[in-house]
């Protein structure tokens, strides 16, 4: 049985169409991320699944049960809110115990479970603190423990990490994912951070203006974006505007590139180049046969830790090339270089599809 099925969900606020025809099926234990820019309807989907918003149209099934008319308190879901939403009048322990207290479970059982959960989120010893005495990361852990306390069938997380600073965010990212796998809990996660989506998810749902653009594994989304928007939003890319010929040759300015993956046969087109798909050398002899080749000049070199990113000016366009730091040969700003790529890599889309 599917853990969650959302079928053709529509939701408008006045004349703002927040969600349009959203359909998603989740397996039990799956970690799915809704990814998209701010205002694309991610929260609305999550809130509809939680029962805080009523769908204008469409159905929501939670473990096979049609849930549209079930109020939030009767749905078997847990939720972590972006702003934590911890109860300020209660201690950490009371916050976590809230759902059990509502269900009037026996005190000793509550106490035991709170202890377990605190250990699970690594907050043992803080049970008697009040929310305002905690750091952002700690508050988010409490929120997570509180959401897990009632053993929900589905866990909903709305940008739980966005208010935290980079270091804590990265750490919690891994922790949440490990916890999710350990508990095997079906999780729907919302973020506008592509890195978060790529690192945490089993599958990613990319949204734009309330409409799903693509659903796929992080690899699929990154390697095989369905349109320029997805390519632009997930990962870094350079975009070249040109023309397709016979579905095989991409003409850009006076260059002709051979391509194998084009969604256009003839006419105006947009080519997407991932920085990692491009290679860079000083001499033409080192270029493998059959590669597409461009000449340019290095305009900026930035060191990103494990990779080096080089900005190369080619025919008045800036194109990004990335290489592992250990493969970096010490190009400098102003160097004349040769950039090449295999015909297998670039994706070509119709020009009408915008990256915005």
């Amino acid at each position: 049985m599917k853990a969650l099925v959302v079928k053709d969900l529509h939701k408008s606020f006045g004349n703002v169409r927040a969600v349009v025809g959203f359909t998603l099926e989740m397996e039990e234990g799956e970690f799915v991320t809704l990814l998209g820019p701010s205002g694309c309807g991610k929260t609305t989907v999550l809130r509809t699944v939680a029962g805080f918003e009523k769908a204008d149209k469409g159905e929501i099934y939670i473990f096979g049960k049609l849930s549209n008319d079930i109020p939030p308190e009767k749905r078997d879901v847990g939720m972590v809110f972006q702003n934590y939403a911890l109860f300020p009048n209660m201690t950490v322990a009371q916050n976590i115990a809230f759902s059990m207290m509502i269900r009037k479970e026996p005190q000793d059982k509550i106490k035991k479970r709170v202890g377990e959960l605190l250990e699970l989120v690594q907050l043992s010893g803080l049970e008697n603190r009040y929310p305002h005495q905690l750091s952002g990361g700690q508050m988010q852990r409490v929120a997570l423990a509180r959401a897990l306390a009632k053993n929900p069938k589905i866990l909903l997380l709305d940008e739980p990490l966005s208010a935290l600073d980079a270091k804590v965010r990265q750490q919690l990212r891994g922790e949440i994912r490990k916890l999710q796998m350990k508990l095997g809990i079906t999780t729907l996660f919302v973020t506008h951070d592509q890195e978060e989506a790529l690192t945490m998810s089993d599958r990613i749902v990319v949204m734009k203006d309330g409409v799903i653009q693509q659903i796929g594994s992080p690899r699929q989304i990154y390697d095989d974006p369905i349109n320029p928007f997805v390519a632009h939003f997930v990962g870094t890319s350079s975009f070249l505007e040109g023309e397709m010929l016979d579905g095989k040759i991409f003409i850009w300015k006076d260059e002709r590139f051979e391509v194998r993956k084009s969604k256009v046969k003839n006419g105006k087109a947009l080519m997407v180049l991932r920085p990692t798909h491009l290679k860079m050398v000083k001499d033409e002899e080192n270029v493998p046969d059959g590669s597409n080749v461009m000449k340019g000049r290095v305009s900026l070199v930035t060191f990103l830790g494990s990779v080096v990113r080089v900005h190369v000016m080619i025919k008045e366009e800036e194109i990004l090339v990335e290489m592992p730091s250990e493969d970096f040969w010490g190009f400098k700003e102003g160097d004349e270089v040769i950039v090449y790529f295999s015909p297998d890599f670039p994706l070509v889309f119709p020009k009408e599809q915008n990256i915005q």
Partner: protein
């Protein structure tokens, strides 16, 4: 602290002390007079040190029936507050959360506060005559309810708007019914605000003069009306009046200390957002 800063500090304090004294002087003088005999009270030049007497207090309570007026004020202020606060809380909550009636109804509620009360008091008197509500405590209570409710709704609405709705949603998703979420989360968080509104309501009723003057009679007069009545044709009974004033402001002073404590407590929950 630098020298110029220090000097500024001293100057600021001197100015503040002067103004505080200007504000406090009449009250301090009233307190002093309330413990003086009539002879000392009217003496010119005034005497600062004398043997205090509580005769004024006893006289006003017994001869001028102030025990009764106190009771009237208490009954009216307390019942008006006890009735208005639950109504205003729920109404303010509904406005804040469910946008009941939209912006227009919100505006209408506050618009009622823009009419000068004096415009309404005569028609209200005429209506009260018909319904035999003149010179009754419940009549006065009803008028206070009508005039204070919109104001209380308005301030409580602001207070509830400050509580993020995610808090209630978190309670709902954790299995609480909407009523439980209100009682366990919203109410405890907003208790300081509700308390402050209640104190405010009580003070507004306690101090109200115009409606009380027109709508009450000898038996139902509240403290402000009774105090005004001490200005007789034979002159102002200054000793008694002072004693009455001191007794009238005492509960307000105590309540003000309360409200301060609650407002501070309300602010310390500021880490909600």
């Amino acid at each position: 602290m630098r020298k110029s800063e220090k000097r500024w500090n001293i100057i600021a304090h001197i100015i503040l002390i002067v103004f505080s004294f200007i504000i406090l002087a009449p009250i301090l003088w009233t307190i002093r007079t309330s413990f003086a005999t009539d002879v000392i009270a009217y003496e010119i030049p005034p005497r600062f040190f004398f043997k205090p007497t509580i005769k004024n207090y006893i006289n006003i309570l017994v001869e001028n029936n102030f025990i009764r007026h106190f009771k009237n004020s208490f009954v009216v202020s307390l019942s008006s507050t006890l009735i208005s606060i639950p109504i205003a809380s729920l109404a303010g909550y509904a406005f804040a959360r469910y946008n009941t009636g939209g912006e227009r109804l919100k505006f209408t509620v506050i618009a009622t506060q823009m009419l000068p009360p004096i415009v309404l008091v005569i028609p209200l008197f005429a209506i009260y005559m018909k319904f035999h509500l003149v010179n009754t405590l419940h009549g006065l209570t009803i008028s206070y309810l009508a005039f204070n409710l919109p104001f209380l709704i308005w301030i409580l609405m602001g207070f509830f708007e400050g509580i993020p709705k995610e808090l209630e949603e978190a309670a709902l998703i954790d299995g609480a019914t909407p009523l439980k979420a209100f009682l366990k989360i919203v109410f405890p968080i907003s208790a300081p605000g509700i308390m402050a509104a209640a104190v405010l309501s009580f003070i507004m009723c306690w101090n109200e003069f115009l409606f009380a003057l027109v709508l009450t009679g000898a038996s139902s007069a509240t403290i402000p009306v009774a105090l005004a009545a001490l200005q007789t044709q034979r002159g102002v009974l200054i000793g008694k009046l002072s004693a009455g004033v001191v007794m009238a402001i005492a509960p307000i002073v105590i309540l003000s200390l309360f409200i301060q404590k609650y407002l501070v407590k309300g602010l310390s929950f500021g880490a909600i957002k």
